[in-house]
Symmetry: C2
Subunit: 207 residues, 2 copies
DNA sequence: ACAAAGACGGTAACAGTGTTACCGCAAAGA
DNA sequence: TCTTTGCGGTAACACTGTTACCGTCTTTGT
């Protein structure tokens, strides 16, 4: 590995990042329809060939964009929770979920609504994406340890994800206005958690 | 209106139906990516021009397909509920929702996940589509009248839709296996309804 | 009854898409 | 120094949605 070759390699990684950045700008500015190889290569100032040497094909670029979305999503989730109390932390996590979807709706559509036509993530990408939900799972587990919830952490996390995704997805599709959507969102998340709250109510054992 | 012109008109409607049928077959057999004007016109045996005279443009055909999906969805919902008891009827409605999505996943993606690239339903189409949820709303209203639920019918129906869509959408995206998904689905729907059940529990007033 | 007019449909073209064969060129190895 | 290797730009391929052109057919005006 000569000095030149590794310099070239970091150069390639810089170009890769620039392409991903240009793709992001195009995505949020004009939507997935603007993501053509020619427009992206034009925006970054290179030929179309570069995209194929760096990403293999458009699908490779789409996968990179997909993973980039999950990275942003994970950052948003992680920084969106500030409280020390596990249960409020979990609620903050839900709020951060919706907040991210509203902040970067195009990315949300890419990740969860198949906005990139023809792109289906392979098993590895799917697993990498789902890793963002480790945060949610950990927050649920914290509530269980603290005794603020009772039940199976995986089940609770799954149900919260389903609820949050359903509410958010329909809101992004234009079926609900902002205030209505937010109210429904918190109601839904609360309803999901209620059966798992400990306390006086008779011993319901969900699932 | 001469005899010929109306004969021609019914003929055009027949061709329109044939095109929609061929489009449906292509959709369920090969997915939205196979829906090209040339393939559709080839499958029905006419020129591409016919599609443009009958549907205006590809968007018109996509809108027709979108509405066709909602018509099928509405039929599935209507025939999926058989019980006379309002609450079990409502649960059957939820089960029919998921059953339809699993039976015709491509249509579900077209309707709720924007599987047709670039197609966004206009206000009229959106309203026509949402009309399928009148069934859900009516079932909720029946439960309210029968005293089996308490609350706002619109809110309850919205929450059920969000929950069902979230669970179904993630299942179709491959994030959950069949048995897991079904169990989560019924748990989620039950959780949504629990706060609105009447009875001894202290007067929680959701929302 | 016969010509003028209008509508439908097939052919072939246009611009735009993802992708790649070809070629030039710069660097690495012998 | 000469060969080889690999990257990148150009131009082409097959495909997409869409439409101008033209022939054919029915309706209409006189």
């Amino acid at each position: 590995m000569t000095a030149y070759s590794e310099a070239q390699q970091v150069g390639q990684e810089a170009v890769r990042a620039a392409i991903l950045d240009a793709t992001t700008h195009l995505l949020v500015a004009e939507g997935p329809g603007a993501l053509t190889v020619r427009r992206i290569s034009g925006a970054v100032g290179c030929s179309t060939k570069v995209i194929y040497t760096l990403f293999g094909a458009k699908e490779g670029l789409e996968e990179a964009l997909w993973l980039e979305g999950f990275a942003r999503f994970e950052r948003a989730l992680r920084t969106g929770r500030t409280s020390a109390d596990p249960l409020t932390r979990l609620h903050e996590c839900g709020a951060a979920y919706r907040a991210y979807a509203l902040a970067e709706p195009e990315y949300y559509r890419v990740m969860f609504q198949g906005a990139l036509p023809g792109f289906v993530p392979d098993a590895a990408a799917l697993a990498a994406g789902r890793r963002a939900f480790d945060i949610l799972y950990a927050d649920v587990a914290s509530c269980l340890e603290a005794g603020q919830l009772r039940g199976d952490a995986q089940e609770i996390a799954d149900l919260l994800w389903m609820a949050a995704h359903g509410a958010t997805s329909l809101e992004l599709s234009g079926h609900f206005g902002p205030v209505e959507a937010e109210q429904r969102f918190v109601t839904l998340c609360a309803s999901v958690l209620t059966p798992f709250l400990p306390g006086p109510p008779d011993e319901r054992t969900p699932s």
